[in-house]
């Protein structure tokens, strides 16, 4: 009987792996099959000559270049906005908070982590409307609002990485600089954080990835289906995930559907590029850190 249960467990596990792997493989195969034969230049730039679009800012109407540009810029701005408050809150939790303050901030960060992205988007939208009612000149839906709301969405990710990074530092290293007369803040910014630079960048990667794939937040705060011209922080913009969603319900013919698949692959690759770039940066920073400490010896 027990043997039987053990055997069943083994069979079940491998079957689960088989189902899991097949599902994901078919997802990728379908994507690859459907973009076969799609011309990359027309996918990105439509009928506009690529050079004109890239250098002279000529509007692109049929391609996904504006959406790609929109996604990259909104994610960059969002992470830039979130890095300082995120890292500082992490430092606060790890180094400064008393037991009660720690409990409260910790709970709130946990809630923020679990908050559905559409609720964050709704909050961003409401804040935008409230501000607009108070100051009629305030900007309406635009990239700046989306970036702020996205930054808020990925904030807990940065907080948690910083906090765990700081907590994992060995006591000898932690005490060295204060023993030499450094203040607490100096110790954190010149010794502890550089020591954990790798982990911090890991957190930024995660935040970037999460921001790039999120659709709900930007949908409520400023993304539109078509914004062919150049981008500005205070204008509405296009974004890849929203483009895919829009295509899924609004495609008129098979060619447009294929554009949707092309955009899907692009978004998948974009997340991959973010990861790869961050990994490269990671090894660079740790190399530099090791180099400088070696020089000081």
């Amino acid at each position: 009987m027990k043997r039987c249960a053990e055997l069943l467990l083994v069979i079940f596990s491998w079957l689960a792996l088989l189902v899991f792997a097949t599902s994901f493989l078919s997802l990728f195969v379908v994507l690859l099959l459907r973009v076969r034969g799609l011309d990359a230049v027309s996918l990105f730039f439509g009928d506009t000559p690529p050079v004109d679009a890239l250098l002279h800012g000529l509007p692109v109407f049929d391609g996904i270049y504006p959406a790609l540009l929109g996604t990259v810029s909104v994610v960059m701005v969002a992470v830039l906005c979130a890095v300082l408050p995120g890292v500082f809150t992490g430092i606060y939790l790890a180094e400064f908070a008393g037991p009660w303050a720690h409990r409260i901030v910790n709970l709130l960060v946990d809630v923020l982590t679990g908050l559905p992205s559409i609720v964050v988007g709704l909050a961003g939208f409401s804040f935008m409307v409230l501000l607009h009612n108070l100051f009629p000149g305030a900007p309406g839906p635009c990239m700046a609002w989306s970036a702020l709301a996205l930054g808020f969405l990925v904030l807990p990710c940065l907080v948690r990485t910083t906090e765990t990074a700081l907590q994992g530092i060995p006591a000898e290293l932690r005490r060295t600089a204060p023993a030499l007369g450094a203040t607490k803040v100096q110790n954190i910014f010149f010794v502890l954080l550089p020591f954990r630079a790798k982990d911090l960048l890991g957190g930024v990667i995660l935040a970037t990835g999460r921001a790039a794939e999120d659709t709900a937040v930007i949908m409520l705060t400023g993304v539109v289906a078509s914004a062919p011209g150049m981008h500005s922080l205070f204008k509405q913009f296009e974004a890849l995930p929203f483009y895919i969603y829009y295509m899924s319900s609004q495609y008129r013919d098979l060619a447009e559907l294929q554009y949707g698949f092309g955009a899907s692959i692009t978004l998948l690759l974009l997340c991959g590029v973010f990861f790869a770039a961050a990994f490269l940066l990671q090894s660079y920073v740790s190399f530099r850190f090791r180099g400088s400490s070696w020089l000081q010896k």
């Binding site: 249960a5 053990e6 467990l9 083994v10 079940f12 596990s13 491998w14 689960a16 792996l17 189902v19 899991f20 994901f24 997802l27 379908v30 300082l84 408050p85 995120g86 500082f88 809150t89 606060y92 400064f96 908070a97 409260i104 901030v105 709130l108 960060v109 946990d110 809630v111 923020l112 679990g114 908050l115 559905p116 992205s117 559409i118 609720v119 709704l122 909050a123 409401s126 804040f127 907080v159 607490k184 910014f189 794939e213 659709t215 709900a216 949908m219 409520l220 995930p241 895919i244 969603y245 295509m247 899924s248 319900s249 559907l257 698949f261 899907s264 978004l267 998948l268 997340c271 990861f275």
Partner: protein, 280 residues
Amino acid sequence: MTRLIRAAAVVTGICTIAVFFMMLILGWPLFSHGHLFALLVGGWNPGSDQFGILPMMVGSTAIAGGALLVGTPLSLGVAFVTAVFARGRMRRVLLSCVRLMSGVPTVVYGFVALIYLVPFIRSQFHSGSGFSILTASLVLGLLISPTMIVLFVNALDGVDPRARRAAAALGATPVQRLLYLQLSEALPGLLSGVVMGLGRAMGDTFISLMLAGNSINMPDGVLESARTLTAHIALVMAVDFHSLEFQSIYLCGFVLYLFTFMLVLILRVVDHRFRRGRVQ
């Protein structure tokens, strides 16, 4: 600098609390318009001033529950293979693949499933349009698996290595070790993995928006179309800002916020038990 650090923490905290009060205040006209009870358990019929969000709550629960039914066994199986049966390089490859999978954007799942899975379900069951709770649950189950697998593997690996080595020394095979030692020891960790999966499934917008059909009626079965709380927010955004119908999305946001808060508390309790169990 110290002040700046404190200020950052205070701002983060206040923003999180502000989201809650924003939902409460902006949804207030609706709260004061009808009884809260009627809003929570009543049906949706804007023609006769009924803005109950019960159908959406049922839809959310059904789809998230279905996703857990699909995702939990799948993730458990893959986690067992990764943590116990696979060795060396295969284990590393599996883990990094799973990590990579968790980065696949939600809309990509939705898009592919919309083109392939929806017609398949329609032709298989000969009823409905293929936009159903079943379709959304299947895809959502797959979507939450990578996250759950990583958490499960962490939980299984977190079992005291001394105990594992002791079991191995007594002649236990990997399966026996898993079945009689790791599974019971890692139970709280596994449980919190499931709770996190539930949170992700409840909070997801685009899978249900694209695949569940968004019908406002109370669903009768898994092949029926349904609307989730999250999809409701996304759909009603297009309506007049001052209407009561619009304000119902704040009620949805409020319910989702409370639900998240509840899950966080549950995770706390599980985690607390876990820690206490380990000390003994």
